[in-house]
Structure formats: C-alpha cells, structure tokens
C-alpha cells in the first residue's frame, strides 16, 4: 500500500509539472502568434527595436515612431528588450534576433563594448545593425542614428541653466548610470562649455541609474549636501522627472532651477506649476522613425553606411550619412510653458 501511494504521488508530480510546463509554453505560443500578425502587414523587412530597457517612456515613444515607420514601409515590427538597463542584459535578446534571422536590429546600447560581439555575430548572420540614442563602438554596427550632436546637447543645457540662474552660482548634475555612454559624453562637454561661464561652479555629479526612486533620493541628498545649490542639470528623462517631483514639494521650489533633457508629458505638470522654466530634448518619436527608415534603407541596399550616402525618411525628408556612418536627426528643441501643450509624448 505504501508503494502504491508513493507511485501515485510521483506520477502525479510528473503529470503536474508537465502540465505546468505545457500550459506555460502554450500560453506564450498563442500570444506570440497574435503579436506577430498584429505587428505588420507581412512584408519581407522584419525590423526589431531593442531599447535599453522596457517600460521607459522615452523608448516607448521612440519605438512608437519606429513602429509607425515600419508600418509605412510595410515591414514587420517587433520590440524586445531586457527589464533592467544592465550592461549585458541585451545580449540574449540580440542573440535571439540573430537566431530569428531578422533583417535589421535597431538598438540603443547599454554598454558600448559588452554587446559588441553579440552584434557582430548577428551581422555575420546577415542582420543589419542600426544603433540609435546610445552608440556602440563603430566597429559593431552598420549605422548610428544620432539624436543631436553631443556638442549641441551640452551647449543647450548649459545655456538654459545659465539663463535660469543669472549666469552665476553652484550647480550639480543628476545623471543616469555611471557608465551610460551618451550621458558621460555630454557631461564632459558641459564641463568644457562651463569654461565660458566663470561664475558657474559645478559642485557635484550624482547618478540615479535611470531609476525613479534612486534619482528622487539623489536629488534630496544633493540639496542637503549643497545648501547653496542654485541649479540642477539632469541629462536624462527619468532623472529630470524625479528631480522635478522632489523639488515641486520641497521648500527649494522656485529657488533651485532645474533643467536638462525631459519628455513633455512627464514635465508638463512641473512646467505649469513653476518648478521648471524650460528644458530641452529632440523628438524621440522622430528618432525612432528615422532609425527605422535608415534600417530599411540598409536592408534594401539603398545605403551602405558610406559617408555621403543619402536616403529619404518618409515625412522627415532626406538625410545624409556623415562621418563614422552616422546620421544626425537635428538640433535639440527647447520646451517651455508656451509650447509644451503642443506635444504629446
């Protein structure tokens, strides 16, 4: 009797776990099918967008632009990515894209080097790689779609903060991850630009890791540590929103200026209540849109990434490939109380 019971238990264990596994995979299968068919009109160009991490409003917007462009081209759009922006987290997804044999991969790199080999393996398998927003080493991709020149971005933010604090006083920077490629490049350039503003002193650079709560806490710590702080620059959308949220409820509201790179929807509230006067950004939707068209042009062979190649990106018009296989979207755009309602992203 003991025997029989134990056997029943064991058989039940196998059956239970087997049914678990099957239902799990079965569910994913049907979801996947629905998603793929909803994604595009079944054209031959399959383009996969890979943001730094999912659930980031900035990349939601850029990927929406990409999806729109892929729809216009008549290709198949897919968005995949890790849930955290850690350096190697994108690698399994890049590998997967290579296995699926997608025609083009549009990726914003979490680390200029860690995903390099994976990208090159995908390219060997015939996938065109376009980076946007955050570049890798130039040897790992076919084309980089640059949202704005680093010089332009750095200058726009320094100009904004110097206007807002009367060109003198202590400022600090609240950045994303300490290793973030583009943020670090901008910060270096901002430091150079500050040479033209001798009365502005950069007293601290802190890192919120593009995490809302951490950025919020870092803002609080900054204000405590530097009581004479007159301004904060946050060159990341998560950081500026968290900092604005902190400032809007603190006694420093209106006294400590905040600017940087933010999205209009996140910042509307704080621009209207006077916490933030103005901030800058390009249009991420246009960026994703342009990246998708660039990927399509590469796949179709219209461009090869050579300097001087030109292609047309739908409503945005014609673009020219610059040095180092880079395409430039344009100048940063300044959002203020007067124009912020015209935007919805």
């Amino acid at each position: 009797m003991k025997f029989r019971n134990r056997r029943i238990v064991a058989v039940a264990a196998v059956a239970l776990s087997a049914s678990l596994g099957l239902t799990a995979c079965g569910g994913s299968d049907s979801d996947g099918g629905a998603k793929a068919s909803g994604g595009g009109g079944g054209g031959d160009v399959s383009i996969t967008f890979m943001p730094k991490n999912l659930g980031n409003p900035y990349f939601d917007t850029s990927d929406a632009g990409g999806k729109k462009a892929v729809g216009e081209i008549g290709g198949k759009f897919q968005e995949v990515g890790p849930d955290a922006a850690s350096p190697d987290a994108q690698v399994p997804f890049i590998n997967t894209a290579a296995q699926q044999g997608v025609k083009a991969l549009v990726v914003s790199a979490n680390d200029p080097k860690a995903i390099c080999d994976a990208l090159n393996e995908a390219r060997d398998a015939g996938t065109k790689v376009v980076t946007f927003d955050s570049d890798t080493d130039p040897s790992c991709r076919d084309l980089y779609v640059n949202q704005a020149t680093a010089e332009g971005i750095a200058k726009a933010q320094i100009d904004l903060i110097s206007q807002q604090i009367g060109d003198s006083g202590e400022i600090a920077i609240l950045s994303a991850a300490a290793n973030a490629t583009n943020q670090n490049a901008w910060i270096d350039l901002m430091k150079k630009d500050l040479a033209d503003h001798p009365n502005i002193k950069l007293v601290d650079t802190v890192y919120g890791d593009d995490d809302d709560q951490k950025s919020f806490d870092q803002t609080a710590a900054l204000l405590q540590k530097h009581p004479n702080l007159k301004g904060i620059i946050s060159p990341t959308t998560v950081g500026i929103a968290a900092a604005a949220r902190y400032l809007s409820t603190s006694s420093s509201k209106g006294k400590v200026a905040l600017t940087g790179l933010g999205t209009p929807n996140q910042m509307k509230e704080y621009v209207k209540d006077g916490t933030v006067t103005s901030f800058a950004l390009w249009n991420p939707e246009d960026l994703g849109y342009l990246a998708a068209y660039a990927a399509d042009a590469l796949v179709k062979g219209d461009i090869s990434g050579k300097e001087g190649d030109t292609f047309t990106a739908g409503k945005l018009g014609e673009f020219k490939v610059g040095a180092d296989a880079t395409v430039l979207l344009g100048d940063p755009f300044v959002f203020t109380k007067d124009n912020i309602d015209q935007f919805n992203f």
Partner: protein
C-alpha cells in the same frame, strides 16, 4: 492520536537522509522530484523544438549554454550550501568583484589573463572564507551575513573601478570564452569543459563521500550531525570557501565573455541561481536535494527563457512564467503531500481493519 499512530511510518520516511532501499533502484531513481524536473525539461525542450520557430537552429543551445554557464557553475556550491540549510547571497557580488579584479590586474598591474584570473579566484576564496568564518565560527545566520557581504563585496567592486569599465582584453582570451568545443557550427562552448569537471567533483563530493553525507546530516539536524562525528563548522566553512572560489571563476568567464569588466556586472545573479536551485528540488530548509535536479532546474529556466524570447515575448512575461513555475514547484510538495494524505484517509476509511492491524503491530506507539 490515532492519526499519529497510523501516519508515523509514512511521515518518518521523507525525513531520512538516505534513500529507502525498500523499492528497487529504478523506482528510487525515477519517482523523485528531481526526475519530475528532468521530465518537464524534456517535455519543454521537445515542445519548443516542434513549436517554436528557429529553436531547432544550432545557435540556440550554443547561446543557451553561454548564457546559463555562470548560473550552472555557481548552482553547484549553492546547492550544497542550501542542503546544509544555509544560503549564500553574496555570490553575484563576488562575480562582480572578480570581474573588476581581472580587469584592474590585467590593465593596471599588467598581469597576464591567467595570473589575473588566479588572483581573482584567490580573492573569491577569501571572500567565501570570510562568509564561512562568520557563519560557522561566529555562529551568525548566513542570511544576515551574506546580505551584508553582498553589499560589501559589490561596494568594493564598484569602488575599485569607479564609473569606468575595462574593455581592453586580449582577443585570444575573449575568443576562448566563446569558443566551441567541436569546431564551428556545433553547440557546445568550451566553458562546458570546466563545468563538467566541477560537476563530476561536486557529484562525488556531495553524493559519494563522507563529507557529502555530513552535508545532508547537517541539513536535517546540525546537533545530531555533530554527535555522529560530523565537523559541522568545518563543513560549512569549506562550502562557503568553495562557493566564493567558484563564483570568482564564473566572474572571470563573465568578464571574458562580454569583454567588459565593470563593478555592476552580474547584478541580481544570486537570485537566478537560488531560483534554479530551488526549482531543481533543493529544500530551503535543508537536507533534501540532488545535483541532477539542480542542473535540470538551471537548464529548464534557460530553455523557457530562450524559447519565449524566440516567440518574441517580453522579459516581464518570461519572469512571470518562471516565477509561477517556481512557486508551483515549491507548492507541489505540499499539494502532493495533501493529496496523498487525502488518498490515504480514503483508503483507510474503506478498510478500517488495516489501521487496527498497524496499531496492533506497534503496541508501544501509544
């Protein structure tokens, strides 16, 4: 009172550290939780082969092994530590620290990669020894100790390299980390060689040595183990040292695979390791588990992630599926115990004489 009498023979069975030799070998080997996981692994694999597009390509297993190699490696010592009813949460931080050390020692101190790797592994062993000392000889709970050292080792790792990353490694070594054993186009990366060696050692250590029997005894009852002659402190101490050294080795692999040494490498890896070990049938309360289940648990999670990624699923959904699977696998033990209890009660109800027979056979029980 009567239930206690009747259920005692069954109730005592799961608490034994040695298999019941009442059943023939094949039944003892196959009708276990470990085998259930292996069977599930087989089913998921075959299902994915048949239904997931591109899963049957040669790249799938190759990338799968590359991805799960650090988890496979660390799961071996982790399983042993968890069988003694302890835990090591600092493994991912040791991976990060070892990664940074390889980078710093290679770039700044000019050591060759093998020397830097050896130094990193020595430091890993020291990190593990610190954990082991605090747990075994100071007598602190391992959960508290390793949460502390998790932050400590990660802090040292990030502190050593700051915001920079070391990416300048000789191609010979970064290629070696990704080399295939049987030449281009095959599925098995070279990292599997050290893994198989460690697996054989771990199987011998845990399942075929006195040291291993001591590990199970400690998990059941450390005091009783002490009185049967097991050196409880020394056993735990060595397990933490092994865990540190193996984690550091995983860190060396991690660095070379991604060609990037950073302080935040492998953040959160400890939870993936523990999840896989638990899924593989190791009890968090100690005393139960086997390495074939652990390896199957790691590979199962890897295959589910890989298949779902190929289906274009988001990482959130993958996490949900793995989380549910984990909870159900832990629950399944209790559910099955409940089910078999009910079953027994029903059988007993039909044949009340059997209970009386048991009671009569054990008059001293009351």
């Amino acid at each position: 009172m009567s239930t206690a009498t009747a259920s005692r023979p069954e109730g005592a069975a799961p608490a034994r550290s040695y298999p019941s030799y009442a059943a023939p070998l094949w039944r003892r080997a196959l009708l276990t939780r470990e085998f259930a996981i292996i069977a599930l692994l087989g089913i998921v694999y075959l299902y994915s082969l048949g239904n997931v597009p591109n899963f049957d390509g040669p790249l799938t297993l190759y990338y799968l092994f590359l991805d799960i190699a650090p988890i496979l490696l660390i799961a071996l010592p982790m399983a042993m530590i968890m069988i003694t009813a302890e835990i090591d949460l600092s493994v991912a931080s040791v991976v990060g620290l070892s990664s940074v050390l390889v980078g710093v020692l290679h770039q700044d101190a000019g050591l060759s990669i093998p020397l830097a790797a050896l130094a990193a592994m020595a430091v890993g062993a020291v990190c593990g020894a610190a954990n082991g000392f605090l747990v075994s000889y100071v007598g602190l709970p391992s959960l508290a100790v390793t949460i502390g050292t998790m932050a400590l080792y990660r802090g040292v790792a990030v502190g050593l390299l700051g915001t920079k990353a070391v990416t300048d490694f000789p191609e010979r070594w970064t290629d070696l980390a990704k080399e295939r054993i049987f030449g281009p186009g095959t599925s098995y990366p070279t990292i599997l060689i050290p893994f198989v060696v460690l697996l054989v050692l771990a199987v011998w250590l845990l399942h075929f040595s006195n040291f291993g029997r001591g590990i199970y005894e400690i998990g059941h009852n450390a005091e009783a183990a002490h009185f049967t002659g097991v050196d409880v402190e020394l056993t735990k101490f060595w397990l933490f040292v092994i865990s540190g050294a193996v984690s550091a080795f995983a860190g060396v692999y991690y660095t070379l695979r991604y060609g990037s040494a950073r302080g935040d490498n492998a953040t959160g890896l400890e939870l993936q390791v523990i999840a896989a070990v638990v899924l593989g049938g190791v009890s968090v309360f100690g005393g139960r588990g086997a390495l074939h289940g652990v390896v199957a648990g790691v590979v199962l999670i890897g295959i589910i992630s890989s298949a779902m990624r190929l289906e274009g699923q988001t990482v959130n959904l993958i996490n949900i599926v793995i989380g549910v699977l984990l909870v159900l696998s832990v629950l399944s033990t209790s559910l099955l115990a409940l089910a078999s209890g009910l079953l027994r009660a029903r059988t007993r109800g039909k044949r009340p004489s059997s209970r009386r027979a048991v009671a009569a056979a054990n008059p001293n029980e009351r």
